[in-house]
Every structure is written in structure tokens, then in C-alpha cells.
Symmetry: C2
Subunit: 437 residues, 2 copies
Amino acid sequence: MKPIRIAVLGAGVVASGVVHVLQRNQQEIQRRAGRGLEVIAIAARNTAKAHEALGATGVATADDFEAAVRRPDVDIVVELIGGTDRARALVLAAIEAGKHVVTANKALLAVHGSEIFAAASAKGVMVGFEAAVAGGIPIIKALREGLTANRIEWIAGIINGTTNFILSEMRSKGLDFGTVLAEAQRLGYAEADPTFDIEGVDAAHKATIMSAIAFGVPVQFDKAHIEGITKLQAADIRYAEQLGYRIKLLGITRRRDEGIELRVHPTLVPAKRLIANVEGAMNAVVVQGDAVGTTLYYGKGAGSEPTASAVVADLVDITRLHTADPDHRVPHLAFQPDAMSDAPILPIEQVRTAFYLRLVVADETGVLSRITTILAERDISIDAVLQRESAEGERQTDLIILTHDTVEGRMRQALAQMQALPTVLAPIVALRKEELA
Amino acid sequence: MKPIRIAVLGAGVVASGVVHVLQRNQQEIQRRAGRGLEVIAIAARNTAKAHEALGATGVATADDFEAAVRRPDVDIVVELIGGTDRARALVLAAIEAGKHVVTANKALLAVHGSEIFAAASAKGVMVGFEAAVAGGIPIIKALREGLTANRIEWIAGIINGTTNFILSEMRSKGLDFGTVLAEAQRLGYAEADPTFDIEGVDAAHKATIMSAIAFGVPVQFDKAHIEGITKLQAADIRYAEQLGYRIKLLGITRRRDEGIELRVHPTLVPAKRLIANVEGAMNAVVVQGDAVGTTLYYGKGAGSEPTASAVVADLVDITRLHTADPDHRVPHLAFQPDAMSDAPILPIEQVRTAFYLRLVVADETGVLSRITTILAERDISIDAVLQRESAEGERQTDLIILTHDTVEGRMRQALAQMQALPTVLAPIVALRKEELA
């Protein structure tokens, strides 16, 4: 049988990984797929640089992206240029030309996914996106196919390696965010402009995609609540540890009766959970299903060959399924297009979590009583209290409170009221806490 | 579209889970599969007991298994009776009748897999077996589809919950094997006859299946090296801990130039690895691929609904794929039947691992030197030595040695030579050690 022919858009690290993995493991892959997979064209802005990145792979490069996606001899287009505007146009052009598409572009799918999947369905082609979430971990496949028996209850994932590396370093070395970020940039774990990572945007793209395929709702990145790790202080990592918790930047999506939670924020997680022990740039996703219970998927979330592993898995899936009746393929968003849910994404005020609070309070009688009264008045019950002399001196104290689950809107009112107390001497730190079991 | 019609053989806990999950999540599953899935017949030896187990599900039960597999209105037969003889006959009869088959029966596939898959391929039907390995964890799907880009290097898994529960209890409570086994039986974590679990046979069935789909070799259970946990002593768990290791019963399969390792045995694993922290009856499988690096999959490896989760995922896969050209389906053993490898399963003497040795030696000069000389003469290099006064008194000492990787045959010779020394006062304990990274 003739090999499946592939055009790759982009010639960065992931493109280079795809070309190298397909060449190195070509025999192994063909033994599985029953058919060869061959990259016949690479489109790159800078063809000289592309040649360098791709080494002696012998694949032709050109700078005409539009021509590459329309080549009549191409079966699958792999989009690896990133960004949302040109990538959207090229992916839609490829679909229009009847090509299957594989993409690692989470931003593109989190924002334009509904449009792209609708176009693909109309044209009877597939869009594979395993590489868009958690790199080499086959989490999209697990959610769309491995756990089809389940009503998914929630997903919580470490889905950004840069921030997990920074948090791991902050904890193990007791350092501040800024110091570790500089180190991460020096080591290549963080980009020169790390905004998308450290502000949680990248994790939110991925959480948005997982939310859609877990609950059968359209991708709605604009409804995600996003907080990064830039304001996190070493003191809170230390206090969390003393209370048996670690702080991780989690992408969380959860089904509630009223709708769906979709949020990214630093989160206290019990130290004994496996996900709390995922260190460095590694990724891990916990999925809770009603039949299967808790499952976890762990691996490298980024990098040339781990991401290529996911891209190539999609290429093999398409090779296997492209002759199948489109109605019998795995639906892009896990649920049949005519069976999607209209459950709303809940505003953050309606989200339910427990909280970690750190208040710097005057060291005088009655302070704790006033604070606990404010919480009690809003039906927020307290799980644990830790009081420590502040580093600043004797006249003030760090007061740490862990609460049970409550509604965020109620907590925000309580926080405003506590902050207004004259005995609360600094801005209150409030972090969300999840038991994840 | 008419629902897919299913006959279930067996009415135990997993069958009951399958029926309940399909009923409870019927809407969710249909929204994914695009078609209903309906159990129309259950075959059970004791129909009265079956009725009780299945509760008010309203599915007809009968005791004629042969009739159930041949019913013309059945599309898929789910085999959940266990054992290898009757199960083999029924599965082959179902295939012969043109039915797709889903089975949770690892013993059946580890022993008769090649015959069953060949019959299924000849008939153009699918045999799903996600539930046969690690229960609800979609590890078969990850290996056969999620990691197709990779040359798999090795797999190491906690794939028997009973033994992991026992080892967790032995470690956390410092108890002996016998005490914990009795407790596990009382709690229902171990069977009245626990031989298959504690002797490693169940884990070896699962490791055999994973080995076949990872490396494209036929299932060869008879070539697996199998050791259980019955001889494990509390002292070694304690010493391992002091050296930074935990002891887990692992199913391991690894590709070497000379062939494939396939083995189940208690194994020292660095305590900092995620898999070392998998406690209680949970399962976890680590897969090392050349492109993706290390990945890990964690969840419940047994139980009614976790196993049902895997069975139903297979049912949905078959629902999606049964109209597809058989040549384009996922091959049963991951590789195309005409592209299998004839790499041999290596005898245990050729396996390469590091070792943990505990020797009870006379407390006199020259003992350590004689022992290290024996190891050095066989090119076995030492990683660490720990010497502790034995509980037995002052005249003898526990000598713990960690070695670097060596060939098992060489170690066995060294062990025989050391055991013959008059200063070695008790049988030497030798356990294998894997770094798993």
C-alpha cells in the first residue's frame, strides 16, 4: 500500500521531532499502522533555518504554506506554527482542501475549536490534537476513548511544565518566584517572555479543551477563570507544607448540578497525593470517573520528541481510520456533535472550593474571634488554624486558616470584611485548596 | 440506529458492574458512541444467584452459555466467566459465530491469546481486552494506540492489587507477610485461596499481554519468570527503606539486543519514584518509550465498576469500529499479524538487573573482603554497603549490599559461592533492584 503522505507546517522543535521520530522508528510504526507514513513537504518561513533544524532528513522545505496545505498528493497536514490567526486560516484551508489535520496548537483549539471541528465534520475529515494537551501523555485518547463508560466528575492537571518547574524549585530551595524564574529562563525551562506560562494562560487553553471533551460542551476559553503563580510567596509554600499540603498550578474542570467549573490557579493539594509529588517540568492529569474512580496520567508535557510522540500517534490513528465511515469515527469533542451539552461554564463566584487563608494580624486578644465570627456568619466552616509569630516582630502574627468547601462569592465577601478590620495589617493571602479524592 | 446488542457470560461482580454502568450511564455513553448499547442476555450457572447480583436490571438470565454466544441477535459477547478451558471454547464459539468478543480474562489471553486472535482475524471480528490488564486504567489503549510513535523500551507495573495492598501494609505497619495476608483476606482484598495473586501468577498473565503488545511478539506465558511475595521478610522492607528504596511486586518486560525480558518478582524501586508511592490495592504501569520518555498510568486495577469501565470502553470501541474495514482496525497485538517479531523471551539467567543482597555473616575480620572478592571476580560492581548488628546478637551481623546492573546467571554463581562460605550463617536474601529511569 502507498504510504500516507504528510505536509508539516512549521520547522521548529516539534516539527523537527516529528520528522526525526518518523524516520528513526519508521519500521516500528509501519509494523503497527500497516502502512508507511512519509513527510513529503515542510513549509517554513525561513527555509535555510529549517534545513538546519531538520538535519539530514532530506525532506523538501519551502516557504509557501498555502501551497503546502493544498498539494493534491498530501493526505494529512500537520500544523505546528502556533498562534491563532494564520494557523486558523491554514487549518481551515487544509480542511477545505479535504485534508485531515493534526495540530499541537492548544491556543487555536481553545479559541477556534468549535469552528474548526464543525468545518472538519462538514468535510468528513479528522482533526487530531493529542499533542495539544500534556504533550506526550495520551490524555485526549484516555478521555475520548478509554473512559467512555464513565460520567466524568472532574479533572485536575499539572499541564504546564514551566510553572511546575518553578513551583518545585521554590519549594525545594525555599526561593522566591522571581529568583527561580530567572534561573528557569537561564536553563531554557521558561521562555524569554514567559507570560503565557506563568500567568496560567497556556494551562487554561489545555483545561478548556479537556473540559469540552469530558463534559460534551463547546470549547469556551473566554469563560475560564485564570490565575497564574506570579504573586505566590515562599512563605505560603512553607506554611502549606507544614499543614501537609503542596502548592501546584492546576487546571481544574468539574461538573456541578448548576454547570461546569473551569479554572486555573495555584492550589493546595494534600502532599500524600501522587499529583503533589510530580516534580520539575513533568505533567500529570487526574481524572475522576463515576465507574473507574481516580485515574492518573503522567509524563513529559512538552519538548521535541514527547510532543512528536503525540503528533505521530494521531497520524497513525488517521492512517487507520481515514477509510472508515465518518459517522463511526471518534467524535472530535468525544460526544457526537448533535449530542452536546449546553451546561454553562460557571462564573468564579459560583465555584466551590476550600480555602487557605493567611492573615497578618495584630497580636492582641479578640482578633481570632472577630475573624472566625465573620467566617461563621457566612457559613464558612474552619478545618484547621495555625498561628505563628511573624518574621516582622512581636507585635504581629501570621494566622493561617484552612476552611472546608464553600462558595467563592461568599468567601470574597468574607475576605473584604476581614480585610477591613483594623487588626488585619496586610493584604490577606487566599489560595484555593482541593482534596482531589 | 438500532442499539448494539450484547450477551454477557457470567454473573459475578464484573458482570454486575457492566450491566449497572451501561444502565446508569446509558445516555452519556450513547452521546459518545452515537448508538445505544444494550445487554440482551446474561448466561450464568446459577440463574437465581445471578438475578440477585444483577438486582432490578431486568435483563434475562439463562444457564445455556452455548446458546447465548450463538444468538443471531447478539453483536458482541462479553466473556466474564474466568478460567481457561470453558472460556476458551466459548470465546472461539462466539468468534466462529461471527460475534465480536470482549473479555477481562488475562489467564485466557496469556495462554491461548495467539489462537484466539488468529481465529478473530480470520473471521474479521474484534477481541477487546482492556479489562484484562490493570482494570480500569486504559493501559492497553495507551500501548496499542497512544504510544504508536515509540520504540517501547520497557514496561514496569504494579498490576496486582492484592500483593500491593499486602506490601503497603507490611511496610507501613512493620508486619510479617502471614499476618498481613490474614488481614487482607478478612477485608476481602485477598481471596480465600490467594495463590494466583501472592505467587505472582496473575501479574505474570498481565505482564505477558503487555509484553506482546509492546514488542510485537506472541503471548508466551510459559516463558515468563515468576516469583511471588510469600518469602519476603519485614527486615528487608526495613533495610530497603533505609537505603531509599521500597519493595514492590512488579511485572517487568524489557527489550534487549538479545531478546525480551519477561518477569514478575519483588523489586526494590527508588522511594522517590511515583510508582514507589502507589499504595494499597491501586495499580500503576510505567512505560518507557524512546520518543515520549517515561509515562505512568495509575488507577484501580480490580473491582466491579473499574473493571466494567474497561469492558464498556471496549464495547464502545467495537460499536464505533465494527463497520470499518478489518484491515484498518487496531491490530489485536498492536502490530500487524504479518509484522510480528520473533525475538525470543530470554531465560532468567540472561536477565540484567541490579541486586539487593542481605547476608547474615560472622562478626569477624576478613568477611567483607571475601564477599566483595567473590563479586569482583565475576565483574559485579558494588553500589552501596550497609552493615548492621543483627537482632540475633553480637556474634553475627547483617550485611546489605546493593550492586550495579549485572547478568543474573553470573549473580547466581556468586551467590552459590558466597553461600558456601563458613562465615555466611544463613540463607542469603537476594532481591532485584530497578532504577526505573
